[in-house]
Symmetry: D2
Subunit: 301 residues, 4 copies
């Protein structure tokens, strides 16, 4: 493990780039004449899950250089590709709840609440008979535990039990390992959200097990964990130090030991800090808009 | 009825100012050397409820001219008086949930969400053993039905069932009849919130009946309904018209018919518009801060 | 005068709908297969200005029912029509400053700041040589006098003197008389902004006279003045009163006297309050986005 | 230099902690029975400026552990100490302009705009004769260059030329080197703001030279530069590597070379990223409130 990441596509890169991984299928695709690159990672069984460090399920990553460059032109095609995938996941389901996770007051964490701000919710309109031909969409931006005193999973479980949707879509800001991925990547996963290593049981997970209905997660990486940066810096440093002897010393450390070392180096910053781009406000605003429009369109079908 | 109001103190004024109302007790008080005027209205039984148009319970109104004038000096005494009343209502209860109702994006309706923004929530800290001596406080700003597709009462019922607090405190912006009351009044009611006339059963009420636990409501008037203004204007108009004959015509209308008339006059504006002061942003910010501090202090006890 | 309005199209309606007004040309147009209705009012000379109550210049009003209904599909065509008009006004000018007037914290007044939030500013990119083929765009959201202690006209005069743009585009929320116009109308005026009656000299005007460069104003009605509503209500009332005698009394009042009467009726609300739709947040967000995109596109040319 | 910092108190620590620096006076003080620690650094002449890397002037740092812990009780004493220092700097001046620098949409950069939000501006009230006994306060939150296309120094120069205040107070978020200083430190400097090394001429500086009037800067560290963290990590790493030989290699690098090395290590993150605490929203809200109240109080005198 070379540093915390929420992206399946980065976890795959950890293992080996070329050889196939047992229990993990990888499909890549370019979308027509757009620059939207798509990677679909299917974790087929528990062996694949252990190897990748992600639960059994499907992970789709959409990437576009234009997304990062705040290019207006990418909104429409990215929205369509995303909407197309959402429709597939939704299938015949008729009642959707969307949860915009994160803290509205901390810019890189505001993605989820911003998506909810732009959603076209229909549950009340259908109930009141104002509209008739739409998937039922309800939505909530529950806030973070420091604001509510409650785990998001607890809030969403309570609402799912009361409202009885067929599908929960959770939107959340993610951590990436490569700074190059920030602001240009959207990940869709039918496994929900599992904090930490992503394998095993977790009381704070937001998935079918804890919520009681299928959970689709849409995430966008907006931050990098602090140890990731130090870890990255190490290779450069070792090369700079230059001496064969030093490189030999570092070789004694396994990948995991080196990450552990990086964590120790940044202890004071570790738990309570993150690294984020200076233009994160612009990224989060634009991508949240693209995601909410994609959900709006998928719900019309 | 002279126009919609959420304030018990204004509903009382409708009836008659001096004579006692069967089933309704009124107590007034000035708080020490502050200018905080306090009116306590106790609706003792169903007869009182029918007469006042408010359910059985206690309604406390705190008013201060300094509050409207954005006078810094009033924050501390108002916070203390409010906190004192909250403590009384809380009594021996140990688990409180606070719900900030309203739409964060429409200034006069943002009071509830702003209060939640400044709350010191403790539920997670107590669970994790980080603190030990505090009342348990959890909080949610659920948003409005146009954003969520769900009634606030449904969301709060779901959360109360899951979290099991002993008391729900709901914060909401109110409508007043007198423009003079905007921005200087805080109402506390142990009856919760009942939309509309306030008497009878309501599926959208947020009270002990619908939520399953006692509900305390803290409200601040920030808007006036459009027909109220037209209604007010009528007396002035009739005087201006001057003729005895006209006054006689208007006399034929009962209070209720006149309000009905006012409603008809403003039909295009009626349902979807409100009247609000231009400095409502400043009022809402300051009073929300006072309320959250009062809750924080009451929870420390 | 039937109530305060910032819309030329409503001032024209005051006079008479059918007969031509000396010095005022009116052209109407429908835009292709969209529902965008366009009214162009040209005030040709001082006589026209006196009659209409608006300075000499061109006023274009774009209206679409779909705009009010938050119909996604209208964004693109409305943006294109607006962009087309902006290009005409910009002509060969190469340096534009955009000023988003209003108070970001009061929803119906936040139009201007929101437009600036979404603008693609280029002045610094051109100066640093990062881009080369664009009109120079700078922007400011100066805030309102209660926040800055300075008239917007003073701030903009200072910046225009320093930055030397060829054209100032000011964006501002407007007052309409008809509630039906809120949220569905965009007005473009090459006269800038003149508070009050709009004729004569004004120290707080933002126009070529006070700023020193041509000023184009883009406005959207988001509020109605309180007396307007009372005034509207009067006709309904008189009819309701029914008696010939009453109607005769009202006939004695001129249009202006009646408006004066309406003002007196609502004295307590008059100066410091406004009427606005409950979904004003959604309107302001969407239309501000359409306007900023239209400016972005016009600046590319 | 061990990493970028905007704090004079950290630049002093770079040199040596105990020996006196020629041309630099350091005075420390504890404020009564509060925990507010005060360091006053006076750079007396150019020699001191060269050594410290900060222009000639006075730098006061106020620090309190309670500030970081969001302890309510610290607001009042910190506000008073800050207000006291502001009054000294203001002296007999009667016209103040306050500029809240930074990007309102990026949480750690929002300090300046938030301070302006809470200021009591008086310039217009004095001009209109509504109040008479106050220092004249005007204010602006100009936004950042990516939003305006204009340097803040250019905007403030334009406004100072137009409004003619006697003193400009600029509020800005700062970078610290020690994570321990974030959220608990306020720096006041009578030198204004000079980006970069802080010595020499800078076109983007905001100081008496560029603005034409004295400039007082109030800053709060809310971020750490990425290379700072890597640099810090290096010592830990070298110790971890353990070998004498490695330590010898690192010894060959001067302080400056090591920082250069750290910069190279984090090249991809360097320019466009920052490190910030997860609770930065709470810090920025509370400290901005303390600063605006301190200015409000200082202006009353």
């Amino acid at each position: 493990m070379r540093g915390r990441t929420d992206l399946a596509v980065e976890m795959k890169e950890d293992i080996q780039d070329d050889e196939p991984i047992t229990g993990v299928h990888v499909l890549t695709k370019n979308n027509g004449d757009t620059d939207i690159h798509e990677v679909r990672i299917i974790v087929e069984n528990e062996e694949g899950a252990m190897r990748l460090g992600k639960p059994v399920g499907t992970y789709i990553t959409l990437e576009s250089e234009h997304l990062r460059e705040h290019d207006e032109g990418i909104h429409e095609p990215m929205m369509e590709v995303l909407s197309h995938h959402l429709k597939e996941f939704i299938g015949p389901k008729r009642r959707i709840m969307v949860a915009g996770l994160g803290n509205r007051d901390v810019t890189p964490d505001a993605l989820g609440p911003y998506v909810v701000d732009h959603l076209y919710v229909t549950r009340h309109l259908l109930e009141e008979g104002i509209i008739s031909k739409s998937i039922e969409v309800s939505a909530i931006a529950p806030g973070v535990m420091a604001q509510t005193g409650m785990e998001s999973s607890v809030i969403l479980h309570a609402l799912a039990r009361e409202i009885r949707p067929d599908l929960l879509i959770v939107i959340d800001a993610l951590a990436a390992r490569e700074s190059d991925r920030l602001g240009k990547t959207i990940q869709i996963a039918d496994t929900g959200i599992i904090p930490g290593s992503g394998v095993g049981n977790h009381r704070n997970a937001i998935n079918e097990e804890t919520i009681g209905i299928p959970v689709l997660a849409i995430g966008v990486p907006t931050v990098i964990a602090v140890p990731t940066i130090v870890n990255d810096a190490m290779d450069v440093m070792v090369t700079a130090l230059g001496k064969q002897s030093t490189r030999n010393i570092l070789k004694k450390f396994s990948e995991e030991e080196r990450y552990q070392l990086a964590c120790e180096m940044v202890t004071p910053y570790l738990e309570n800090m993150f690294v984020t781009p200076k233009d994160v406000d612009e990224s989060v605003k634009r991508i949240s808009f693209t995601i909410s429009e994609a959900i709006n369109r998928a719900a019309l079908a």
